[in-house]
């Protein structure tokens, strides 16, 4: 560092950067003994220079009621805000299993999830899944305790890039695939579903016709809001 005394604007800059509060003209002049103290006009000129130096930078000089302060420009504010993010933790295996069970077996209760997983499901997991908007309560099973019935949401489908649950591999496919490739040909899966439905439907043949006529006038309201 050279031995020249630092330029006035750089003293001001340093002061504003450490002060932790806005500094007015008097506070800035107070940094100097009377003998060396710059004129107010010099101080103003130095502040103007400083403001110019900050053009195109991530910070700017701002004059507020209580004085001058240096602040982060809006243009970098959002990026810099990331410093204050809480680092997300990875979801636990238990959470993923629970989510998958809800997806494949919905609607079902927590007790039913626990039956399949063989271990209890923490309230935290259910809360996280609901906070995340992937799972919601769609009703209650009419048994003692009236447990909530959980189902996946449209957000769940959106997040995983699915148009519908049918795009998930069937259980049979899941069993066979060693390492699941998400880009598997889902068309085959859809066909399998369609066939299953058709079979089911054929068995209930009679009922189907009458319903068809009934369903004209109302849009299906059930999709999640």
């Amino acid at each position: 560092m050279s031995n020249e005394p630092p330029a006035l604007k750089h003293v001001i800059e340093a002061a504003l950067l450490v002060a932790g509060r806005p500094l007015n003209l008097d506070a800035l002049l107070g940094l100097f003994d009377e003998i060396e103290r710059p004129e107010r006009s010099e101080m103003r000129a130095a502040l103007d220079e400083l403001a110019e130096d900050f053009a195109n930078r991530g910070i700017e000089l701002k004059e507020t009621a209580s004085g001058f302060r240096i602040q982060v420009r809006a243009s970098v504010s959002e990026r810099v805000s990331r410093l204050f993010e809480e680092r997300p933790q990875r979801y636990s295996r238990a959470l993923l299993e629970t989510l998958a069970l809800i997806a494949y077996r919905q609607p079902l209760t927590r007790g039913e999830i626990e039956d399949v997983r063989g271990v209890s499901v923490s309230s935290n997991i259910m809360k996280t899944l609901q906070d995340r908007g992937w799972v919601r309560v769609v009703g209650h099973r009419d048994v003692p305790g009236r447990p909530a019935l959980y189902a996946t949401t449209r957000e769940f489908l959106d997040y995983f890039g699915l148009k519908s649950l049918d795009e998930l591999p069937t259980l049979a496919e899941l069993r066979d695939i060693d390492s699941i490739n998400v880009e598997i040909d889902f068309d085959g899966a859809e066909e399998a579903v369609a066939e299953a439905v058709a079979e089911h439907a054929a068995a209930e043949g009679d009922a189907m016709d009458s319903i068809e006529d009934d369903g004209d006038d109302r849009p299906q309201a059930a999709s999640s809001s």
Binding site: R117, D166, P219
Partner: protein, 282 residues
């Protein structure tokens, strides 16, 4: 570090010239400066113990730590000890232990020494080792003190950023991860025969959820309103199957007041719980 106050003569050895003439020690010792008693107290308290005091005595006379004139140094050391006693300064035990050590070295120095003396035979060796060891850390402390440090020498900048956006991030997960997790549940579940997870059309499950979400327990909903013709025949079938499954699982009730009257659907569940209200907001 501060410049020593003139009359205090604080023992800052670092400020003393250091010019040892090896083999030709300066025997002409400078006379002790007269120190007023009150200043002496401050002076003595400035020492960090007997090693520090000894180092001061040695350095003050431009002597090398490696070649201490023990008799002379011991005499001076004892003078200070006596002074401290006279002034009734609280004298740490360490000072007296050192006095004893010096006296012992002095007496051993008077004994004739073999010509080929090993250094461990030099009665001063242990003292020299300790003095050097202490001196290097005393110096290190001064060096550390001289480092540019926060608050005293440099100030950390901190720009207020209270207007920052609070960004809440959530963990990310891939479909693949979820499916792998699920596959393991299945493997686990299959060990228990009574928990067979069957293959069934997922669209049916989804539709069941949708229907269940759409019906209320204390509100009869027209049966037909649950169907959407735009979905075509297949969609309608799926909805119907979902309704049948929901009835089978006793999740909904179908009500018809009289034959051919409109059919209504309501949830079997009783009151709407808070859970439900919450989830409905999404």
């Amino acid at each position: 570090m501060t410049e020593p106050a003139p009359e205090n003569t604080t023992p800052e050895q670092a400020e003393m010239p250091f010019a040892v003439v090896q083999g030709a020690p300066v025997l002409q010792l400078p006379r002790d400066l007269y120190i007023p008693p009150d200043a002496l107290e401050v002076f003595l308290e400035a020492f960090e113990g007997p090693l520090d005091l000894l180092l001061y005595l040695i350095k003050r006379q431009n002597l090398d730590v490696l070649d201490i004139p023990i008799a002379e140094i011991t005499r001076q050391y004892m003078e200070y000890i006596d002074l401290m006693k006279d002034l009734r300064l609280e004298l740490a035990a360490e000072y007296l232990v050192m006095a004893a050590m010096l006296a012992e070295i002095k007496s051993r120095m008077l004994l004739p020494r073999p010509v080929e003396s090993e250094d461990e035979d030099d009665p001063r060796a242990e003292l020299v080792r300790r003095l050097q060891e202490y001196e290097r850390y005393k110096q290190a402390a001064e060096d550390i003190d001289a480092l540019e440090r926060l608050e005293r020498d440099v100030l950390v900048t901190q720009v207020d950023f209270s207007e920052r956006k609070i960004v809440r991030t959530v963990a990310e997960v891939t479909l693949q991860e979820m499916l792998i997790a699920f596959k393991e549940v299945l493997a686990h579940a299959e060990k228990y025969a009574h928990h067979q997870v069957e293959a069934e059309p997922l669209s049916l499950r989804q539709r069941m959820s949708d229907v269940l979400a759409a019906v209320r327990e204390n509100e009869y909903r027209p049966f037909t309103s649950l169907f959407n013709a735009e979905e075509g025949r297949m969609g309608v079938v799926v909805t119907f199957l979902a309704l049948l499954e929901l009835i089978r699982e006793s999740l909904i009730e179908i009500v018809q007041s009289e034959p051919y009257a409109p059919i209504h659907v309501k949830a079997r569940a009783g009151r709407v719980t808070e859970d439900e209200e919450d989830s409905d907001e999404q």
